[in-house]
Symmetry: C2
Subunit: 340 residues, 2 copies
């Protein structure tokens, strides 16, 4: 029921994803009067789906605490998360209220052993392909251990989604010599360098412009900075698109040029298309929850579902758990080694 | 002597700026064997310039503490700052080592009354024109009062450089409801809203994508986030430029299209041209110091000089001082009003 268009985007999106993954099964939670007409015209999806009616939906502008108080046990959002909790679903996907989704997911699924706070991670298009960036705003601030946990979770996600054996991981930092970055970022770098986590290749600090250049596969930062970086990049892409549209309609020659090169323009637009990288993954919980952009289209929502499918098929949670356990059993020895 | 190309960019850059501002006078500090041949072929600049020889130059990779120890009293960078200190120059401009320049400027010029830490501010191209963004990395972290000081200094800079009576100021924040931003950002917002500073129109929080949209004239954030946002945006611009170059050479049609629309492409490139917005302004010191990008060209360096010229002509420091004094005399009353 969430997002700018609710079931009108979610149901066609689920249908697209189901065509790509015929073995996927769907539990759909929402209002009968809206969902059933959309399902009626989609027999293949209907056959693969179970629909559960609820007339409670979390409002897009509800505060997380309010959503938790009013929507617990009965809202479509809660019921989807609850299906993951009870093992009936492998992954929950919502285009709804991000804060409410995170609050409910954290409250109900709880964080993994060794993880204090969940994170939001997403794919980021780069000149070399794609990278994973986290945390995009699940929490503000991070001590060194939280940054290390983000590196572990992000690299597990990169292994699954980008099919990498040992993803290159960088810690986001700033290059001005005088200040040389936060103490906790330096400390996290030290831990990662010395811990030699087997599934993660720690390459050092990276600056903001390294993200789009794809210098590393996983970019780690705390949630405030990550959110600002993501939105600054999105804003810049929109800004350039606007400049280009304006410039290409300036003269007859530029209009003709645009017409001849329209295939090239389309290929660039596709590379920067936010719906392609749609799907913020909540990491660090006992269950997979994915937040689709609220203003996405069916193709974008289908991409969020695809991400969930891939992560379940390739045992993301198990990979995170195993690396965290390795990392935790290593940690005391490493710390001792440093002190001596 | 600083930057990737040293005097070979600085001298032609000074010449360009001098052509635009015939009343400007230059003090040039550097190595005689490099600078004098460049001056010899530029009689107009030579007539408006005084050259002071020094054979000490701060290395681009020197640590700030090291530069301060080894370059104080004698390096070209120090001598330029010292000229501002002694009132012989109105502004110092360098393409050299940022950390060293900030360390020397802070050590020698000292911060203004009421300002604990200086900031770096720059112009940022937007779809509506230009905005001022600060702090871009002079210091990490900020309490509410430092954010308020940044707002005051940034709006003084916007009044001068963007010719605005009462610039709109926004505090950079993240929109995820659950976390709703840092306590100090909220507190700074409260102070700015209640203080009603006469030369500043505080409009509330803005997210990262609002910068490029030009929703406000001044974007305020602490140095770590500001630096990451700037570089993430620059990286995205380079990324899209690379996509476009690749796409336009794909086929005969796209090549022809590019040829016909090349004027339009050039106008977009000019809008995003980093040399146009070149010049990080150190704010909060008793004197104006400007950092040009190290890898800029003569036109970019000239732009950094132009910024300095405008700020001196329009009494930037006096405007900051006056607003700070207003703000400080107002503060106790405002705080009392809030507590009651």
């Amino acid at each position: 029921m969430g997002g700018d268009h609710g079931a009108a985007v979610v149901i066609p999106g689920a249908e697209l994803s189901q065509q790509r993954h015929p073995d996927a099964e769907f539990l759909l939670f929402g209002d009968r009067s809206v969902v059933e007409p959309l399902l009626a015209t989609r027999p293949a999806l209907k056959a693969a789906a179970k629909f559960i009616h609820t007339d409670v939906a979390v409002a897009m502008d509800a505060k997380p605490s309010q959503a938790l108080r009013q929507g617990r046990w009965k809202s479509s959002m809660w019921l989807a998360i609850d299906a993951v909790k009870r093992g009936e679903a492998d992954v929950a996907i919502s285009a709804g209220n991000t804060g409410a989704l995170m609050a409910m997911a954290k409250f109900h699924l709880k964080t993994m052993p060794g993880i204090d706070r969940p994170a939001i991670a997403a794919r980021w298009p780069t000149v070399r392909g794609e990278s994973i960036v986290l945390d995009l705003g699940a929490s503000i601030g991070a001590d060194a251990q939280h940054l290390v946990n983000l590196a572990v979770m992000g690299s597990a996600m990169a292994r699954v989604l980008l099919s990498l054996e040992r993803p290159k991981v960088g810690l986001l930092n700033i290059g001005v010599e005088e200040v040389k970055g936060l103490e906790q970022v330096r400390e996290a770098g030290r831990i990662l360098r010395e811990a030699k986590v087997p599934f993660l290749d720690y390459t050092g600090f990276v600056e903001g412009d390294a993200i789009g250049q794809g210098l590393v596969d996983v970019v780690v930062t705390e949630g405030f900075t990550g959110n600002v970086a993501l939105k600054a990049a999105e804003g810049t892409a929109r800004q350039i698109a606007k400049y280009l549209r304006g410039a290409m309609s300036q003269s007859v020659w530029s209009k003709l040029g645009y017409f001849l090169a329209r295939g090239a323009f389309r290929s660039v637009a596709a590379k920067m298309d936010p719906s392609k990288a749609n799907g913020g993954v909540f990491l660090g919980l006992n269950g997979i929850v994915i937040k689709s952009h609220g203003h996405t289209d069916p193709e974008g929502f289908a991409n969020a579902v695809d991400i969930g499918y891939d992560m379940v098929r390739q045992s993301l949670l198990e990979k995170i758990r195993r690396t965290l356990m390795l990392n935790q059993s290593e940690a005391p020895r490493v710390a001792g080694g440093t002190v001596s």
